[in-house]
């Protein structure tokens, strides 16, 4: 039975051969005949597939062979059909013309590469980069680190000076400064210190404290105001000193900047991937900084124990934080980068039970002077 005309390409050269299409007697094969052929080619209908993905009314390209796309490239003989009647015939009788199968070798190499890719990224982000950050942070000269910290501090003063309604950025009174120095001496104890510590009180009501590179520690007035005892402030100061000694700020800069490059590459081109990259960065960055917070807590516990300062005061400070996180969202953002306060309080309280002797870090007058340093 004759179906119609088509062009045939043998997959060996670009020479066009005009052919006549017909069905074999058993109606299971397509017979392709041309004057150039000694005898007609026979393509089993069940093994004929459409090439490309676009059967239009005027164009259908067929190939003969296996069903998946890779083999399509390996069996390059093609039939190009222009006759709408013939195209309609194939679409009617062979509905699975454009069906594709995924081969098991595809699945295997997909699984293999996915595992290797995830492992490479995980190894890099969780092991190699944090390790490198730890090692390289030691190689950064103290004066460079201090210069970095000074730069950041100036920036902070400039920005803060614009937004604050207070008269001065920092607070200082002779008695308050003396009290702060006494506390500092307590927490430093006999720890070997590479930095000239620069501890300041920022005139702000937030209950917070932070560390900048090069031994700069900023305590906020809100923290001094709301702490029930000098022990709480001593604990926070010791915690921040832990960040200084462990060089956390430098490690953090090294780690997050290199990690950000990797994440933005993985998610960069995905639709909505930028958001995903930022989220991932937050998530990994937070777990990294949670780790740092834990290290700083451990340093604080050791330092307060040596200085014989009551750790219960430090624990109470954590209670204060968890009470003072007003909205759920604030709490979430805080928790994401800090270990859960309740857990930290428990850890500190546990350590407190081992303390044999305790003494007050400041007397009443000194504590009063420190709390009123911003008045």
């Amino acid at each position: 039975m004759e179906i119609g005309q088509a062009s045939y390409y043998d997959g060996k050269s670009a020479k066009r051969i005009s052919v006549t299409l017909g069905l074999s007697n058993d109606r299971l094969s397509l017979e392709i005949s041309a004057v150039e052929f000694d005898r007609p080619l026979s393509w089993r209908l069940s093994e004929i597939r459409g090439a490309g993905n676009r059967p239009t009314d005027t164009n259908l390209q067929l190939y003969f062979g296996q069903h998946d796309a890779r083999d399509r490239d390996k069996t390059p003989a093609r039939l190009v059909i222009k006759d709408p009647k013939v195209i309609a015939y194939f679409e009617r009788t062979r509905p699975s013309l454009f069906k594709r199968d995924i081969t098991s070798s595809d699945k295997r190499s997909f699984m293999k590469r996915t595992v290797i890719a995830v492992a490479a990224v995980a190894l890099m982000i969780l092991v190699i980069l944090p390790g490198l950050a730890g090692v390289f942070a030691q190689f950064l000269p103290v004066e460079k680190e201090t210069a970095l910290g000074r730069g950041a501090l100036k920036n902070l003063e400039r920005v803060y000076g614009k937004v604050t309604e207070k008269d001065a950025v920092y607070c200082s009174t002779p008695d308050g400064d003396a009290a702060l120095q006494k506390l500092t001496a307590h927490v430093v104890g006999n720890t070997k210190m590479d930095y000239d510590l620069d501890i300041r009180v920022l005139n702000d009501d937030m209950i917070n404290a932070f560390t900048l590179p090069g031994g700069i520690i900023i305590l906020m007035d809100g923290l001094l105001q709301s702490s029930a005892s000098p022990e709480g402030v001593t604990g926070v100061l010791a915690h921040e000193l832990g960040h200084v000694v462990e060089r956390h700020t430098v490690k953090n800069v090294l780690y997050t900047s290199s990690m950000a490059g990797i994440l933005s590459m993985i998610f960069g081109d995905m639709s909505g991937g930028a958001a995903l990259a930022i989220f991932g960065e937050q998530l990994i960055g937070s777990s990294y900084s949670r780790n740092a917070e834990n290290e700083a807590d451990s340093f604080a516990i050791a330092s307060l124990t040596n200085a014989e300062v009551d750790l219960n005061g430090f624990a109470e400070f954590f209670d204060l934080i968890s009470e003072n996180e007003p909205s759920v969202l604030d709490k979430l953002s805080y928790l994401s980068s800090h270990p859960i306060s309740a857990g930290r309080a428990t850890k500190v309280r546990d350590a407190a039970t081992f303390q044999k002797t305790i003494k007050a870090p400041l007397n009443q007058e000194e504590w009063y002077a420190l709390q009123h340093i911003c008045d």
Binding site: S13, A14, R54, K144, L254, I262, M265, D269
Partner: protein
């Protein structure tokens, strides 16, 4: 007598719109995983729209091999970029000598250094992506292909970029020509090798409007320097616009020159005569129309989400997110149907193949497995529209 053939392009605006819309929604919903299959389907569609002497082009690339290539690129780039970025940050920290925060120069320098670390990879990815596309293109069952020579391309790319930079862009034709010749001379259709003829100096006339734009901007800058502000600003703006359109003009004219000087082994040659006017009209008018349509759509989205303000926050977030996704997919689909496809069609239908009577002598070439597809291009985000 040389037989000349003009390729045809069957433009189906509705068909491509639906395909791009559908596949970009799927890409969103799968967090980007589907994008490899989206690209594949769009290419199959566009390739199939091109017919040369009534025979369609065929795209044989697959989504799976693109995904595998991407994973491969991730493995290598994670290690390379992670380490490079790390070392650069460290070096950057060490170079922070000044403690003046206004002095952002150091930061700028370290950002540029990390860009320089990525640039060679971009060139590498560009060549690999082109080789991948060629190796997955068939016509009459005969494969196109390119040599494995990406590193040579990287070397020339670096040299040419330095030359271009030093001469403030004046020697851009040298870069355009050298790089295109490198790629063309390593390209094949079946057994037949392509050859890039011509000289780079012949591209200078194509730069005419770029130079005029530069000159006008320079005069404008001079006027501003002489404190003739209003006139200076107007002249600078005119110069900038002239320069921008001149750049498009250079792209079109250099393509025409380079294509018209390509020959295919065995007595075939190419010709191309695209119109800058057509391309600029498409880009400018259609971009304006697209901006109008998308602002209406996103305006509606904003309006709807405002109207939903009293619903529960979760419901309104979901509605806003969905409208956002649909809005983006709609924009992508329109950009393809109104701008990208018409321009592609214009380039194809304004080209010619001469010596077509010799086509039958061209033989098949070996298949190119190509381990990483265009994974590097994808990971480094230089994939382009399709």
């Amino acid at each position: 007598m040389s037989e000349r053939i003009t390729p045809a392009f069957e433009e189906d605006t509705n068909g491509i719109f639906k395909l791009v819309f559908k596949t970009s929604i799927l890409s969103f919903l799968t967090l980007g995983i589907y994008r490899f299959w989206a690209t594949t389907r769009i290419r199959q569609y566009l390739w199939g729209s091109v017919t040369i002497d009534d025979d369609p082009l065929e795209y044989t690339g697959t989504g799976m091999e693109k995904l595998l290539g991407f994973l491969m690129a991730i493995i290598i780039l994670t290690i390379y970029l992670g380490l490079v970025q790390f070392l650069l940050t460290f070096v950057g920290l060490n170079f922070t000598i000044s403690d003046d925060p206004e002095d952002a120069l150091n930061q700028v320098v370290s950002i540029y250094i990390s860009l320089f670390a990525v640039f060679p990879l971009l060139a590498f990815a560009t060549y690999r992506a082109r080789r991948y596309k060629m190796s997955r293109t068939l016509w009459r069952g005969i494969r196109f292909g390119m040599d494995r020579a990406a590193w040579g391309f990287v070397g020339r790319w670096i040299l040419c970029s330095i030359v271009q930079l030093i001469t403030l862009g004046i020697l851009t034709p040298y870069k355009t020509f050298t790089l295109e010749k490198y790629m063309a001379d390593r390209s094949y259709f079946g057994s037949a090798k392509l050859h890039q003829g011509g000289t780079w100096t012949a591209l200078f006339p194509a730069m005419k409007h770029v130079f005029i734009g530069m000159a006008i901007s320079l005069v404008g800058g001079l006027l501003i320097y002489m404190e003739v502000f209003v006139v200076g600003l107007i002249v600078t703006t005119v110069g900038y616009l002239w320069f921008t359109i001149g750049t498009v003009d250079y792209g079109v004219k250099s393509f025409a020159y380079l294509t018209s000087h390509k020959t295919i082994e065995g007595g075939l040659s190419l010709a191309s005569a695209p119109s800058t006017g057509f391309i600029i009209k498409k880009v400018v008018l259609m971009s304006l129309a697209l901006m109008l349509v998308t602002s209406v759509i996103f305006g509606l989205v904003a309006g709807v989400s405002y109207g939903l303000a009293n619903l529960s926050p979760i419901v309104s977030i979901v509605i806003v997110a969905l409208s956002y996704i649909i809005g983006i997919a709609f924009t992508e689909a329109l950009a393809m149907a109104w701008i990208t496809m018409p321009i592609l069609a214009h380039y194809i239908t304004t080209s010619q193949i001469a010596g077509f009577e010799n086509i039958g002598a061209i033989q098949q070439r070996e298949a190119d497995a190509g381990a990483d597809a265009e994974g590097f291009a994808d990971a480094l985000d230089i994939g382009g529209a399709f």
